[in-house]
Amino acid sequence: MKLNPDITLQKIGSMSILVNVAGAGGQDLTEVYNLNDTAAFLWEKIGTADIDVNLMSQWLCDEYDVTPEQAEKDCKYLLGQWEQMGLTMK
């Protein structure tokens, strides 16, 4: 699984905004998502690589004060949300 290549992350001020640049030409604001800092951090770290929950958990543990179990749980929850919103692709 990878991040959807049609979705790009743009930082505007303190906000991290995902935009779908395909189809509606990036103008369809129903396809704009505002990520929190942790999600934006993970999105940038993944980039174009394959999504690996273990690696994501490791990044979270390295960056934030969180246990490996909690990190894995959070990453799985986040990926589930991203998948539902079409932000990832198989």
Partner: protein, 357 residues
């Protein structure tokens, strides 16, 4: 600083817009204290102005750099979407230009890249300079004919236009071949000669010529003049000129440029444009002083005309042949004051062109 409205009251929206534009042009960051605090409606107005003036990439990227005091979520989302689209369009444009120059180069044809693509590389962040099309000029009529034959034979229809230019679409990007290097009518032939064009290559493999700094600055001044005399001009063209003065600093033969402005009757015009650049876009005077720059106190009229007109005056209603003639006559007092020779020459050509039809 050019941020006052006609009633001389400070307009915070315009002030914020101009501060963002200056920041984007110079590449220097902004902090929240440096721009007026705006509400959502005022941010909407900043977005509308940036779109109208086709400087969205520059303005929105500056807003993106604000750590505090930036736009609310909805306006930020609009800016994010637009910046993403501009990045994609820029990549398409670069690929199209590289492909076109490569195709022509294989046949030994090396055109001059004018205007947008030719000037974008002078910006601190070239990809933020939005370009609508590719403008090319060839060193001889024969070379241009060869280029167009090559395009037609490779399946690209090329349309010849009444003004002597040619239009076609190359990989989704409009391309225009120009019969002249500048838009100026009263220009000494030596100023357009190929002695004044230098080699520039973006990559090792794709050849491309660029006008020399002096020629490009003259070209940009002439381009603004042509559109100011007609339907109007937008801020993007002023940004191009500011980027060129800044980008060419240390590489410009100022004596030669001064002579070129003088011989084309554009000294007063250059001083007016220079004042707009220093007072409104924040260009440092040191980029103009070697030209004997003398500020023009009437620059605010030019600023207002630019804000009113937008990108080539496309936001000013009906055009067409009669609209063009009306625009030229409406602008007569202004044009006669700053570039009388160019204006008379242009009007004469319009007149001759109309009786020949």
């Amino acid at each position: 600083m050019g941020t006052d409205g006609p009633d001389n009251e400070i307009n915070p929206t315009r002030e914020a817009f101009l501060r963002l534009l200056r920041s984007g042009l110079s590449g220097e960051g902004l902090t929240a204290e440096m721009i007026p605090e705006l509400d959502a409606e005022q941010w909407d107005e900043v977005i509308r102005t940036a779109e109208k003036q086709t400087v969205s990439g520059i303005v929105f990227s500056a807003a993106a750099g604000l750590k505090a005091g930036g736009p609310p979520l909805r306006q930020a989302a609009v800016m994010a979407a637009r910046l993403s689209r501009i990045a994609i369009e820029g990549q398409l444009m670069d690929r199209a230009l590289t492909g076109l120059l490569s195709l022509l180069g294989k046949s030994g044809i090396v055109p001059v890249v004018q205007k947008g693509q030719g000037v974008a590389r002078l910006y601190p962040t070239p990809r933020l300079r939005q370009a609508g099309d590719i403008d090319l000029y060839f060193k001889s009529a024969e070379e241009r004919t060869s280029a167009e034959s090559l395009l037609v034979s490779s399946g690209t229809p090329v349309r010849r236009m009444p003004d002597g230019s040619s239009l076609y679409t190359w990989h989704g990007v409009p391309v225009e071949h120009h019969s002249r290097l500048t838009d100026l009518r009263r220009i000494p032939s030596w100023a357009e000669s190929f002695e004044h064009v230098v080699w520039v290559s973006d990559t090792d493999s794709v050849p491309g010529l660029m006008p020399s700094p002096e020629c490009n600055l003259l070209l940009l001044c002439g381009h603004i003049l042509k559109h100011t005399m007609g339907h109007g001009i937008g801020l993007r063209q002023f940004c191009d000129l500011a980027a060129a003065y800044h980008g060419y600093y240390g590489r410009t033969d100022y004596d030669k440029l001064k002579t070129m402005y003088s011989m084309c009757g554009l000294t007063r015009w250059h001083n007016l444009l220079g004042t707009v650049l220093t007072e409104t876009l924040g260009l440092d005077r040191r980029y103009l002083d070697p030209l004997g720059f003398r500020p023009d106190a009437n620059y605010k009229r030019m600023v207002e005309m630019t804000f009113e007109g937008g990108n080539f005056g496309l936001h000013k209603g009906k055009r067409g042949k009669s609209g063009t003639a009306r625009a030229f006559f409406r602008n007569a007092p202004f044009a006669m004051r700053y570039a009388p020779r160019e204006y008379i020459s242009t009007i004469w050509r319009l007149f001759i062109g109309n009786i020949r039809k």
